[in-house]
């Protein structure tokens, strides 16, 4: 599904965030991306979402060379992903409802379908009574959950989560993990960057550990360490 060959990412500021990364992630896998702060987890995710392009190496999704993708194709590529950004990236001018609905409108979902699905999604993340609020009127954890609802709205091939539980209490975190497991069972590939060692330890899924931009561990049923 995802193949990285000798990927290197050097930011314009000179920081080398990823170096010599060779990875293969198969369809339907559940992958934890761990590593200390600044190890390169978010950079890895930004490469997959084509927010940035690698300074060396190549990146394939399902045989498609992402680094050479034509500009016009990028939006369609991104729609096949569900992304929970570390900094949420909610539309601050739009209500919670609109934020989720927007993602569905983009891919051309019918209004009727949107009206039926958005409340279900909000309910799933425990925000059914928050649809009319603006992101600024929500707590940190609530905003994070809106981002999650938006990411899963279109049943993406790959769900990419950058520390989706950073601002969630343990109980809500576990509910989210349950949701991710369920999506995974239905076939979605999950990539999740996290610092939550207990979750990693309990789930015993594939663990890719980064350190200073290099893959230092890639275990199929690993723990946090």
């Amino acid at each position: 599904m995802l193949v990285l060959n000798n990927v290197q990412m050097r930011y314009p500021s000179g920081t080398v965030a990823l170096e010599d990364v060779n990875l293969k992630i198969n369809r339907g896998e559940f992958v934890f991306l761990i590593g200390s702060s600044g190890a390169g987890k978010s950079t890895f995710i930004k490469l997959i979402t084509k927010e940035i392009d690698p300074t060396a190496g190549s990146l394939y999704k399902g045989g498609l060379d992402i680094t050479r993708m034509h500009k016009r194709r990028i939006p369609y590529y991104r729609r096949s992903l569900g992304i929970v950004f570390q900094d949420y990236r909610l539309l601050s001018n739009e209500t919670v409802y609109e934020n989720v609905a927007f993602a569905m409108r983009i891919i051309g979902k019918r209004n009727r379908e949107i009206k039926r699905n958005v409340p279900l999604l909000l309910n799933l993340v425990g925000l059914s009574d928050r649809g009319k609020h603006f992101p600024m009127e929500l707590s940190g954890g609530e905003q994070q959950r809106v981002a999650i609802a938006r990411a899963v709205a279109n049943n993406p091939d790959i769900l990419i989560c950058d520390e989706p539980t950073g601002n969630l209490d343990p109980e809500t975190s576990w509910e989210l993990i349950d949701l991710l497991m369920k999506l995974n069972r239905y076939g979605a590939t999950i990539i999740m960057a996290t610092h939550q060692h207990d979750i990693v330890d309990v789930l015993k899924k594939r663990v890719i550990e980064l350190d200073k931009g290099r893959v230092v561990r890639d275990e199929d049923h690993g723990g946090y360490h």
Partner: protein
């Protein structure tokens, strides 16, 4: 089905009411200024035309010795010259009678004259004052024995001044158009810069350029239309007030010297509309473009 971009545009404008107001104000301001200068120039131009029209008569003093038949022939010949509108004959007798009348009490002095010292005169009215020079030459060719008087230098001066005003006006309007574009463009650009992160987020979630751009284009057009509309209304009432003032001050002038408000403002309004829409459209197009790269 994606929500109508028109709806999104309206929603954005209402939510960013302050910003929209600022944009509309800027568009309105610059269009008002453009309108004012246009009004100034159109009126100056008009006044010049009216002024020169007063000098559309050439006085031809026919040679003293010509017989009335010869004078009649001359008149007919003049009437055939291009740019000649009409020719009026004032005979030496009519002129002498007029002179006596003018001299009033002292007219009896004229009785002492051995004979009428005046010549017959042909008053040639031209159609286009600015062609007076050519017409003069043609009239002169017809008969070489008479003297043609016309307000050569006066006409030339007025035409030159009118030319300067027209040239300065055209330059001014080009400059103003450019400035209007700049101001509107800046406003739209600054407005969009403040929504930069929103645009980027949409891109990251998979929105195409169209999804993002259309509402902004529509917004730009709406802002342009509103600006053009408001500026036209302001110009209309402002100009009417000026006409009112002018009418009070210039009450005894025969003709109303200023152009009529409705006619002039209709034209300026249409111009404003075109500029407003064009600039709004171009402004948003270029501004959004910058943030569509992610």
């Amino acid at each position: 089905m994606i929500r109508s971009p028109f709806f999104t545009a309206l929603k954005n404008m209402v939510r960013n009411a302050m910003m929209s107001l600022a944009s509309i104000l800027s568009v309105t301001s610059t269009l008002v200024i453009l309108g004012i200068v246009l009004l100034l120039i159109l009126n100056v131009n008009n006044l010049t035309m009216e002024f020169t029209d007063k000098f559309d008569v050439m006085r031809v003093q026919v040679a003293y010795e010509y017989t009335p038949e010869q004078v009649q022939q001359l008149k007919t010949a003049f009437e055939a010259v291009p740019n000649v509108d009409s020719v009026l004959l004032i005979t030496r007798d009519e002129a002498f009678a007029q002179m006596k009348e003018d001299w009033g009490e002292e007219a009896d002095l004229l009785e002492g004259l051995p004979e009428n010292p005046l010549s017959d005169t042909l008053e040639v009215r031209v159609s286009d004052v600015s062609l007076s020079d050519q017409t003069y030459e043609e009239l002169d060719k017809v008969d070489e024995n008479d003297t043609i008087y016309y307000y050569k230098t006066t006409i030339e001066r007025i035409l030159r001044i009118s030319n300067v005003i027209r040239n300065v006006g055209i330059i001014l309007i080009v400059v103003l158009l450019f400035i209007t574009m700049l101001v509107i463009n800046n406003t739209v650009r600054i407005g969009i810069a403040s929504r930069k992160s929103q645009i980027q987020i949409m891109r990251y979630v998979g929105a195409t350029r169209g999804h993002i751009r259309h509402p902004y284009l529509i917004e730009g057009v709406i802002l342009g239309i509103l600006g053009a509309g408001i500026s036209s209304v302001l110009l209309y009432f402002g100009y009417q007030e000026v006409i009112r003032m002018a009418a009070a001050d210039l009450a005894d002038l025969t003709a109303q010297p200023l152009l009529r408000a409705d006619v002039v403002i209709l034209r300026i309004g249409i111009l404003n509309l075109i500029i407003g829409i064009g600039v709004g459209l171009i402004g948003s197009l270029f501004s959004v473009r910058k943030y569509l790269k992610v």
